[in-house]
Symmetry: C3
Subunit: 200 residues, 3 copies
């Protein structure tokens, strides 16, 4: 179940990367690389920082297959993706929740401080998009618009609060991800965003 959601999230992230790259008029190789780093960039950075090498997608080839599939889907349906925007957004939101939880888990496995675990969760969910934007020569969108990373941080804090009360793992994971998905839906519906921090 958890793994299925992981696959759905990976594919959604690959599609989002492919779309951004196409809007930048990149060639098929460029589109593939952007799809790839958007999908696995966050987990890869996490694995590098904690020393879990070879990194995740090198150990489990299913991620690579899944990105290749997402890539071809994005090419075939590239003129119709506007109509699928709603489904894509839902998948992306599932990815946000699942990836954050995977990052938190890896931090716990390595006995790291809760603050570090939360940063690993946020990184897993957000850094693929950051790399996508850097490769496309943009200031990362999550530094400017939308509360995306903030949701990961809230999810991470909630996770440790619930864990403190000794909830069973299943309920812990389910409730954390549902809260995150719910906040994200609310945030996009109401166009919540953090105001820029300015100096004048």
């Amino acid at each position: 179940m958890f793994h299925t959601l992981d696959i759905i999230g990976t594919m959604a992230f690959a599609l989002s990367g492919a779309l951004t790259a196409m809007n930048k008029r990149l060639d098929p190789f460029g589109v593939f690389i952007i799809a790839f780093v958007t999908a696995v960039g966050g987990g890869t950075l996490r694995d590098i920082l904690i020393g879990r090498t070879p990194v995740g997608w090198m150990r489990d080839i299913n991620y690579v297959y899944c990105i290749i599939l997402g890539y071809f889907l994005s090419i075939v349906f590239r003129k119709k993706l506007e109509y699928l925007r709603r489904s894509l957004f839902l998948f992306d939101t599932i990815g946000l929740g699942v990836f954050t939880l995977i990052g938190l888990e890896k931090g716990l496995e390595n006995n790291l401080n809760p603050l570090i675990c939360i940063s690993l969760g946020t990184m897993t969910a957000c850094f693929g998009g950051v790399t996508r934007d850097i490769l496309c020569n943009e200031i990362p969108v999550i530094f400017r618009k939308e509360i995306y990373a903030t949701i990961c941080i809230i999810g991470g804090i909630l996770f440790f609060v619930l864990k403190y009360f000794n909830l069973k793992d299943d309920i812990l994971y389910l409730s954390t991800s549902l809260v995150m998905i719910f906040i994200r839906l609310l945030a996009v519906k109401n166009r919540w965003s953090l105001p820029p921090l300015t100096r004048n």
Copy 2:
């Protein structure tokens, strides 16, 4: 022999990095760093991802000497490099072939899936140039123009096809790199490039 070609490739990549940096009017330190990351960036990323640390250029100081030499050559000859364009292009093409093979080899040494090996080969040959472009605030050129990475992928596939037929290592390496060099010469001569993937 293989090591000599590796050195030639490294120096060619360092020169290409230095030239790009000078065109951006960077200072001598900036030019050096760009030369450095262009030359060893691909292998460094590969080593980080598979956990082969300290990374290659820290273990074999010859790479560093070779980049320093390339850097000074690029400064001394900086006003004449246009005339050397043809030799530089040849060296760069040798680098493309050799670096791809080195990446494939490292993947095999770590018993990784052939798809992962091909991506390591492509990464070794291409990622230095990608880092160069990011540091110079450009969308990486191999995502937009020229079939460069595509040649690495073709070379990687050919490598595994020939390996499947149990060719001797010498012939395997030689034929793979010659095919890659040949395609690259054809590609540049005929200005082959992949069309952008657009959405309308």
Copy 3:
């Protein structure tokens, strides 16, 4: 003592990152991430390249607390930071010296070649700022203006020269960092910079 200076340097770097991010009108999350990578980016890259994982800030949570503190200070005092410019510049210069020494030390601990140690020192002091500029979509400032990295390189060479004469560690560290700080003060006072390397 050394650790105190390290903390001062980390906080100064976090403040400098936060300021750059605010000038780019990023949101609070963006400002935090830029403050974070500016402060620990250099040491993190160093740790990844030499295989010292989990990286430094995951092992010693004090770095994280210190960045969080610097972040909040930068928000509270964001309209008054111009008046504090002189103190900030001093702290930043201390950071430059201390971070270079920490990088050199890590290289020695891993028995790396002096050239590699000097590059690790330079990287520790400079790469946080490089990452800050890349994330803010700028060509890194140390590739264009100011002699910043050059001071790290001079400091690194001096370190090995003094070491060769068997100076006691205390005196070695103190004199190297004082020379670096002194050159930096002179450099900024006299607006020293390296001229761009151009090709015509």
